[in-house]
Symmetry: C2
Subunit: 383 residues, 2 copies
Amino acid sequence: MHTIHQKFEISYSYSVFFTQNIFSPENPVLANFLNTFGAGDFQRKALFVLDEGFVSHYPQLQENINRYFTLGNTSIRLSGPMLVVPGGEAAKNDPALFDEIVRAIDEQGIDRHSLVVAVGGGAVLDLVGYAAAVSHRGIRHIRIPTTVLSQNDSGVGVKNGINYRGKKNFLGTFAPPVAVFNDSTFLKTLDDRDWRGGISEAVKVALIKDEAFFTWIEQNSAALASRDLPTMEKLIHRCAEMHTEHIRSGDPFEFGSSRPLDFGHWAAHKLEYLTDFQVRHGEAVAIGIALDSVYSWKVGGIKEPDLKRILDLFEKLGFRLFNEKLSENDKINLRQGLSEFREHLGGRLTIMLLSAIGRGVEVHEMDDALIAESVDYLEKHYL
Amino acid sequence: MHTIHQKFEISYSYSVFFTQNIFSPENPVLANFLNTFGAGDFQRKALFVLDEGFVSHYPQLQENINRYFTLGNTSIRLSGPMLVVPGGEAAKNDPALFDEIVRAIDEQGIDRHSLVVAVGGGAVLDLVGYAAAVSHRGIRHIRIPTTVLSQNDSGVGVKNGINYRGKKNFLGTFAPPVAVFNDSTFLKTLDDRDWRGGISEAVKVALIKDEAFFTWIEQNSAALASRDLPTMEKLIHRCAEMHTEHIRSGDPFEFGSSRPLDFGHWAAHKLEYLTDFQVRHGEAVAIGIALDSVYSWKVGGIKEPDLKRILDLFEKLGFRLFNEKLSENDKINLRQGLSEFREHLGGRLTIMLLSAIGRGVEVHEMDDALIAESVDYLEKHYL
């Protein structure tokens, strides 16, 4: 009997909106989206899941959301009590939180034409996005990222995930949101570490893709370091634009081996674990980029003045470029980092290095001895 | 700042192969697929997960799979010990089994370019497919269905899932397999109930889409009832063909409200739960189809002779068309069935009924009193 060949395409689209004071009754951006979202003559509902860390800096958040929905701006109603879940990486380590969200989806009757809305940092967006993606085989979700990191990088992308058995993002899916709302006023709630941390992802995309953007960040490093909001808005917009463009033009669900946006990330992921997430993601990425930049220089990818530009920029932005955990049993830990990375991606190892500022180059091997030398370099200059 | 619009397509393709004695060393079908699957200069691995119920009828299965891989027919190697998990719906109720598979994926180093291969009935394929789909954000998986039901319906489709808090398939994803292998020799291991049960899904697609196929099933009902394998192979092939065609030409990941292939399924799902899965899926589907056919007749969708043809066919095939649980508190339970169905799909309720044999018609309401009368009809004729 003849073989049956199956083939089809699935089309995904979503918008990333930029706004301020999204839950102010006068702001129509969210309501306009909700009112035009989908069709049908039935009542749609929305379940909000909020990041506890964000709520603690914005205590009137629930009240404002309630007011936004009860003032009648939108045809969608709230499904029931909002959930508030702990933020930060710890949220992704606790299976009970996943369960809590799934249970609320069940109990509040969220179906495949209703919505789950996550408001918070990247970890909460990852957790909520995952819970939504696997409930009823895919509840639509909206992301309202509240940190620099999530507004310019993870929150505008298509991934979600939780940690499992000590492996970062071991469980997860590719599930695009139906919309992302970046509210820059939320960034005022950030502590200095999180404000700064998110900038490292912008430095990353600039380094591998856009020298002009890197130069712009250099020129604006003082404004960024002193928390100038309009400058940060521009940085986030450009970074989000490049991130979404990369997803669109590449391999959105990563069926291949390549994953160039993960420049600097193999060491960063390991460092987060080694420090029990005391070093936050953006901070770890800065160190990971510094490490891979030194490595790139050691293998002749970039010249010394370019390396200096990179390291100097991070210093001006206020990043630490070394952590003690990098040199404790460094070789063993760093090798494990590479092998975990290989396993998570699968197949041939593909690491992004630099051949110039603004130009990434993929390699498939890294030399353990040179990695160790790169760690030594950072230790010597930045301990 | 301007809104960023994101849009991309993801392309999926897979083949459904038909074969006999798939793990016989002389059979090249699986090896040919594995050897041409993907590319790269690294070792790919496969983790096999086997259905305990199937293994009990095919005790040399593991040995045969080991021999198939060690004889060097394939460039892919086994990743480690095979898992054997309980089959049947119970497998989907036990979160520990999901965890066991995820743990094996982790411990045996299955990455995104390796494979998970599920061998078993629909429940095991659903469970394994789900575990694979969410591990590392999507491990590729192969399905080797061993029952009529999974070979002609669920196994060739794109869904997976497990039960949660008493809700069927509450957790799951849409994740197409990379290949499906239907081995008809496996069907010899089935007990009569499972042999028969799977035929109901073929009756379903025939009723809503293809009168000629319905007539063919009528003409071959004696051969099917007496377990003639070549006849069953033809039934499975046609049913799988129609099922994959329906997915391709419709809404593969069910973003809309419509779900016409679920003819007869709202009552079937409920009945499975009410009987603690003592009534198996295919058996429940036959009753569900009978119920919705009677209902279709009551609302003037089909004429009485057509209803008789449908009910007679099920009787000739050996199905029971009534279960006591249908009439215990029938109205309450059946109404709950409908509301759960609505919630799982989301949005507007869409139920498939019949306007003729071979022609389904979607409706958005069902009348509780007429549902009760339809139950009465089945009770009167088939208790």
